[in-house]
């Protein structure tokens, strides 16, 4: 039963990934022009000129003169063989370009997720158990403020103030003198000095959503008969809360674990751009802007794959954890 379900899901992933790859390719082709044209335009905007002979050479070498379908098949075929294509901008294979940035991205995202949970969890429980109290309003207000202040504004202002008052160097994840140096105490310190801004900016943004979902789920559970019964039987409020309702309400944490990482990577591009973080986001945005198509395309495919796999994993985890879903045979995300 379980095995069949897993196999089924895996098979369904194939058409999904194909569809995604087509959409990705369309997306990177949609903007008019191609990499070389935006390259020329950029150089000319700076007053530089380019030799048409060289452009012609590059167009042929990069295969930009081929029909679209052929370019697509070339790209997909390459990916199946583990070749993610070539970045025009960096003149390097895509894997080499992305590699370095991924680690930092995952570190930043991980810390941010932890921060989000640490903040959202107590607030959500408090709000649900103290419905319509001033505490509920006040804490929800705090959470919503995180959504309401546009990230780019918050990031810019915090960065400026940190520079003026704490002397933190502007932007980046560490002082420029530490880049490329081995890890040391001073470097760690510098990273900590810089990292709190993105963590707070990105963290506050996702906190509110988390609070709201936890509060709503918990409210649903607290209305249920078994809770009423437990309470009627004189169970202590703390126990009533922690024994089952909270656990049930936590299901959504599991269901989101899969999708949260890619979304933090992609959903925080703007903050990362403002703060000039050496993470994946700004690179993806630049690649899209300059139409560095294989870099952008493989990047997007990678993110999409992470989401699809993440959803699968969280669905399986839910099935394993929640007997009701298992018995009904259906899976709700």
């Amino acid at each position: 039963m379980m095995l069949r379900y897993v196999v089924n899901r895996l098979l369904l992933m194939i058409p999904t990934m194909i569809a995604i790859s087509i959409i990705v390719f369309v997306i990177i082709q949609l903007p008019p022009g191609n990499y070389l044209e935006s390259y020329i335009a950029e150089l000319q905007a700076q007053g530089e000129s380019v030799d048409p002979q060289k452009i012609a050479f590059l167009r042929e070498y990069y295969g930009l003169d081929k029909p679209l379908l052929q370019q697509y098949l070339h790209w997909v075929g390459g990916m199946l063989r583990g070749d993610f294509g070539y970045s025009f901008e960096f003149n390097l294979p895509v894997t080499k370009v992305i590699g370095d940035r991924m680690l930092l991205t995952i570190i930043v995202s991980g810390v941010t997720i932890l921060f989000t949970w640490a903040v959202a969890f107590p607030i959500g429980i408090y709000s649900a158990t103290h419905l319509y109290s001033w505490g509920d309003y006040g804490l929800s207000l705090l959470g919503f403020l995180g959504i309401a202040i546009p990230n780019f504004m918050l990031a810019l202002v915090m960065m400026y103030l940190a520079n003026v008052y704490f002397g933190t160097s502007i932007g980046g994840l560490m002082g420029p003198e530490f880049i490329g140096k081995p890890w040391s105490w001073a470097k760690t310190q510098s990273v900590l000095e810089h990292a709190w801004i993105p963590v707070i900016v990105i963290g506050t943004h996702s906190t509110a959503g988390m609070i709201r979902r936890l509060r709503a789920n918990l409210l649903d559970e607290l209305q249920k008969q078994y809770v009423v019964t437990a309470r009627a039987k004189g169970l202590s409020p703390r126990k009533v809360l922690f024994k089952y309702p909270l656990r049930m309400a936590l299901n959504f944490f599991i269901s989101e674990i899969g999708s949260i990482l890619p979304h933090i990577i992609s959903g925080t591009e703007i903050t990362a751009v403002v703060l000039s973080l050496p993470t994946a986001g700004p690179m993806l945005l630049n690649a899209l802007k300059s139409q560095d198509m294989y870099l952008a395309g493989s990047f997007l495919m990678f993110l999409a794959l992470m989401i699809v796999v993440g959803v699968l994993v969280s669905d399986l985890a839910l099935v394993a954890l929640d007997p009701r879903i298992r018995l009904q045979g259906g899976v709700a995300r």
Binding site: Q46, P176, V274
Partner: protein
Amino acid sequence: MMRRVTRSLFTMTVALLLAGAAGAEEPPMLEPEIAAGKLPPLVQRLPRTPLVVDVKRPNWTPGRYGGDMRMLMGKDRDIRMMVVYGYSRLVGYDEQLRIVPDILERIDNEGSRVFTLHLREGHKWSDGQPFTSADFRYYWDDVVNNKELSPFGMPQALLVRNKGPRFEVLNETTVRYSWDEPNPQFLAVLAGPSPIYIYRPAHYLRRFHPRYVGQEKANAQASAAGSRTWAGLHQKKDEQYRNDNPDLPTLEPWINTTPLPSTRFVLVRNPYFHRVDTAGRQLPYIDRVIVNISEDKLIPAKAGAGEVDLQARYLRFDNYTFLKQNEKRNRYRVLLWEKALGSQMALYPNLNVDDPAWRTLMRDVRFRRALSLAIDRHEINEVVYFGLGVESSNTVLKRSSLFRPEFREAWSKLDLKAANTLLDGLGLTKRDAKGLRLLPDGRPMEVVVDTSGESTEETDVLELVRESWRKIGIALFARPSQREVFRKRVYSGKAMMSVWTGLDNGIPTPEMSPRELAPTLQEQLQWPMWGQYYENNRTGGQAPDMPDALELVRLFDAWRQSADDAEREQIWLRMLAIHAEQVYTIGIVTRALQPVVVSNALRNVPAEGIYSWDPGAYFGFYHTDTFWFDSKGRP
């Protein structure tokens, strides 16, 4: 006629004296390596006659060795700007905009047809290998004439009427290029900020070339490196301008040691650099250049926080107040250099626009004059440029010997009455209910100006122009689009007017090409199709059919044939006069200023300068290799 372009005899003698005087001071950074025997002593590293740099500028002093110069760039690829700032060229412009030998010891120019290039004996690449005529031969035989490396032939600048030069190697240090007809652009192209490299480090590149290692090995290397062809790998390794291959030997003052991608590039001094100061000490003074990569919007903020020692790129005029405010606290000074653009911003009526009614109007000089007369340049100058610009048509700057006040003033003073009279004279007298004039076919006169939306400055200026044009019964709408789209719309005639910077070179001398003034390139926004016609050797696009435009083409051809300075000057002035009278482009404000942030510790950066791409290479022709750090000012 034989003309020698050399530095003064005086410097030559000094150079010879110096080369003899062994034991000049070694840069301290290199001493350990010299002591360990990894580097030969100075005398063996320098060419027999090094270039002696003697900058005649007030407050210029010989410097001291040492220090890291921090700069910021917006993209990894910007590392190429260090080749621009380093500005080591076969020949280069000096501060008076004369072309003088740099890497070359001298150059003989016979009627702009035959150029004999004399290399410096004993000159070495940054890896210590000799730099000789073999490197020119490699480029000629194995790069530019190799079908796989150059499938589309020679660079444009080497072609005169589609014919390349004859190339001869006279001896180890002498090569000659000769054309049948004059090629006056040749030296200017070699001196450009992004020059044509007619020499390559042959000893390094040979190992990727099938002629030297065999087809099989070349291909194997390519596929191991992930390239489809050996030509791709060769091309990738051979990017002197891109500056992205740390292994590639160079002749620049600093060598890039960091491969892409990175957020921090470190460039170290070239121990074999060919320039020395008047005391015979090898340049550059500064040991290392650190280029940090940051989001371009953050660069003003970082510069204001004192995180750079020298920065102009990505700083805009409106950042000046902010930068100035933090000057004392973060120990730097903000200079304002002049940009060399003919106009900071100019309107380009598209003479090749699709719409026939508009095309007729755009081609009528009275219409263009009326538009130009109806711009309140003074207000724009006050509002956007703090009154520091100069209200001017799109022409050359006062610094240029070709400047004439009447070019600047032609049709550039606000005169709504005259503008209205001109428009009435065109028969555009009917108006609609809102007071807009009507085209002959009854449509209201709504001019759509395409912009690439590079900055709020453009939007603001257009907003101000819109208001004064409204007073002559013409509405203006700005249509922002991305750069590529912008260009495509202009080229195809869909855009009726566009806005862009004015003449790229506002400080020309008669020896520089007046190409920008005649229809020669598609990228000329006022006549893209005529430009395309000439760019593609009189095919494609459209042939111009207006007498004044044809006259410009004729004059440009005459300039190319001319080897006489006085004649060239006459041609330039004639072309500028036609431009001023015909108002092909509507300039607004010129002499715009570029903020330059300089650390208080950094010396020899001129307080007033020109910020120009070509000629100038931005900081390049101010000799960045002679900038130095005064340890007293160092934080």
